[in-house]
């Protein structure tokens, strides 16, 4: 039942991806209700899956790498649904759906859904730490998406090669503003996640701490450079993409380290 919900959710995101690709091939890129509805439906099914899994486990479904990735995909969709309409970034859906689809598709395909064998008592602080940190990753993912959109738009403006997608992308200044806000949202949530990690009452693994702090320092540096006007918007956009790629790799590392000590 739970896995079927996830497969249906992945199909919803896949539908949005197909729609985007077909529109681009026709040269008539039109974001809109379809993408938003597909992502919203995918999100509802993700939520249902996580809820079913959580009830079955009796705890927050973050017990293995598979659940971590599904939770991350859910966070990305959540932040998109909150941020997209507010900043009129409907096109963000066209960039978000492939990311979410890829995360879920790979999670479903690879044998990482190993059953949780630990019978330790539920630690609320640990669950709060993990879930807030992953929602922060969702915001970083959307900042990365906004960064990609910025780079696409900027390239078209620089090279004078105007394609159909140009007319649907938001103005550069709007994308830069959205990027900055998403970075702040992600950074604040991530900071809360790190702080709550100290309240878990469990011994702090050195490698995990080092990885988590390096991600924090990376985003802190980007934000500081942006506000001190040391970085051009294009560099901020490129760094958003780089930082999320690095953070995602490090998340994999954190979760790998945690395999012996489930969250």
């Amino acid at each position: 039942m739970g896995r079927s919900l996830l497969i249906l959710s992945t199909l919803c995101f896949f539908a949005a991806v197909v729609r985007t690709v077909l529109s681009l091939r026709r040269g008539q890129f039109q974001p809109g209700l379809f993408n938003f509805t597909a992502i919203a439906a995918g999100f509802v099914l993700q939520t249902a899956f996580l809820s079913v899994r959580g009830h079955a486990l009796g705890r927050c479904p973050l017990t293995n790498l598979f659940e971590v990735f599904i939770f991350l995909a859910w966070s990305v969709a959540l932040i998109y649904l909150l941020v997209g309409p507010v900043y009129r970034l409907s096109l963000m859906g066209a960039f978000t759906s492939p990311l979410v689809f890829l995360i879920q598709f790979l999670a479903l395909l690879t044998p990482i859904d190993q059953p949780h064998t630990s019978h330790r008592a539920v630690n609320s602080w640990l669950e709060l730490h993990a879930s807030v940190s992953l929602i922060a990753y969702g915001a970083f993912a959307l900042a990365c998406v906004a960064g990609l959109m910025y780079l696409v738009q900027e390239r078209q403006l620089k090279t004078h090669q105007i394609h159909s997608v140009f007319y649907h992308l938001p103005p550069l200044t709007h994308l830069f503003e959205a990027m900055t806000r998403l970075l702040w949202v992600g950074f604040l949530l991530y900071s809360i996640g790190i702080v709550t990690g100290f309240f878990t009452g469990e011994p702090l693994p050195l490698v995990k701490m080092a990885i988590a702090l390096s991600v924090w320092v990376l985003y802190a540096t980007i934000l500081a450079a942006r506000h001190l006007r040391r970085l051009a918007p294009k560099s901020v956009a490129a760094l958003c993409v780089f930082a999320f790629s690095a953070a995602l790799t490090l998340l994999w590392g954190i979760t790998f380290v945690s395999q012996t000590r489930p969250l």
């Binding site: 040269g27 620089k158 004078h160 007319y167 103005p171 550069l172 970085l231 051009a232 918007p233």
Partner: protein, 355 residues
């Protein structure tokens, strides 16, 4: 009911001919003059067309008399300029016109507003009855559908509007943006005016002739800036329009770099309207600077026009569906008319126009 369209447009008549017909008076009695139950006139700078509905078949020539009565002596000479459409052709023609397919600039949307005004005038003067009402309301729906489902209106097709579109793609809203017009060339002035019409409030004009700068500033609502200070102004402005007659470039990376040092997160859009160019192409390589010259603007305008033309087939499909649908409605209307001694057209109510 028989539908007719008689008229002339930029496709068939010179601007002088169109002007003469557009100035004709006596349109108030269109119904009587044309001998039709319903008649209304669509008169724009590019076309003068009479749309009419008659219960009995009439020769288009007899309807056309009202169009030509005021200029009878010229009609023979201009007979070739006047076209006639009847039945489905008339319906299709109107749908094409309102959708912008028959316009000089394919996909322009001004014609929709002009047609709505013409319809409203016909309605208020009693010229438009139930058939023309239905025809025009359907035409407005068709235009909306064509705009929504095709890219016929996509992109700007003139150099000035391309520049304004690009500015909006960089900055979004333009109302808080600062613009410097360097030189008082005609194209530059037109672009500056277009930017002002899109919300720019801070327009600075710098020209070698201070008098000309002040004169232009007074006309377009900007302020004149001393020509010796224009480089300093570049530190503040978001958009620079260069249109001087200088024979050597006024701006290159070496001169621009120090001016941009304190505005790393503030893009600068440079529109070089001058020939020869006022800004060296290398400036476009600078971070945060977007340089467009006449050639690049014209290429984008041509791309947009080509894209619009590609959409014509898709638009024609939509129109064909609506023509067929309207034909069916008209046939049903005639059946109803045949059953009754006289067509009960009064049952067709005229709702407020969709203006």
């Amino acid at each position: 009911m028989n539908l007719y369209c008689i008229g002339l447009s930029h496709h068939t008549a010179s601007v002088e001919t169109r002007e003469r017909y557009a100035r004709l008076e006596g349109w108030r009695n269109l119904r009587e003059a044309s001998g039709c139950e319903e008649a209304l006139l669509l008169s724009t700078c590019n076309r003068v067309e009479l749309y009419a509905a008659a219960a009995h078949a009439l020769s288009p020539e007899s309807i056309g008399c009202c169009l030509s009565s005021e200029a009878r002596e010229r009609v023979d000479l201009e007979a070739a300029a006047i076209y006639q459409h009847a039945g489905d052709d008339c319906v299709q023609h109107l749908f094409r016109v309102v959708s912008g397919l028959d316009s000089m600039v394919v996909g322009e949307t001004e014609i929709l507003g002009q047609t709505k005004r013409a319809y409203e005038e016909g309605r208020s003067t009693g010229g438009a009855g139930p058939y023309l009402h239905r025809l025009f309301q359907r035409a407005f729906r068709v235009a909306k559908q064509v705009r929504t489902h095709t890219q016929i209106t996509r992109g700007a097709v003139s150099v000035g509007s391309v520049a304004v579109d690009l500015a909006q793609k960089i900055f979004g809203e333009l109302n808080g943006r600062r613009v410097l017009l360097l030189g008082a060339g005609e194209t530059g002035e037109r672009t500056a005016r277009a930017l002002v019409s899109r919300g720019v409030r801070d327009l600075r004009i710098s020209n070698r002739s201070e008098e000309r700068a002040a004169q232009l500033a007074a006309i377009v609502g900007g302020r004149a800036v001393d020509f010796s200070r224009w480089q300093e102004e570049c530190r503040e402005v978001d958009i620079l329009i260069a249109s001087t007659s200088a024979t050597a470039p006024l701006l290159d990376p070496a001169r621009l770099a120090p001016l941009l040092r304190d505005r790393v997160d503030q893009p600068l859009f440079i529109i070089d309207m001058a020939v020869p160019r006022n800004v060296t192409p290398e400036v476009n390589e600078m971070s945060g600077v977007y340089l467009y010259d006449m050639d690049s603007l014209q290429v984008i305008a041509a791309q947009s026009l080509a894209l619009r033309r590609q959409q014509i087939a898709a638009a024609e499909e939509i129109i064909a569906e609506h023509v067929s649908d309207f034909r069916e409605w008209l046939r049903q209307g005639m059946k109803r008319g045949a059953r009754a001694s006289a067509p009960d057209l009064s049952r067709e109510t005229l709702p407020a126009p969709e203006l």
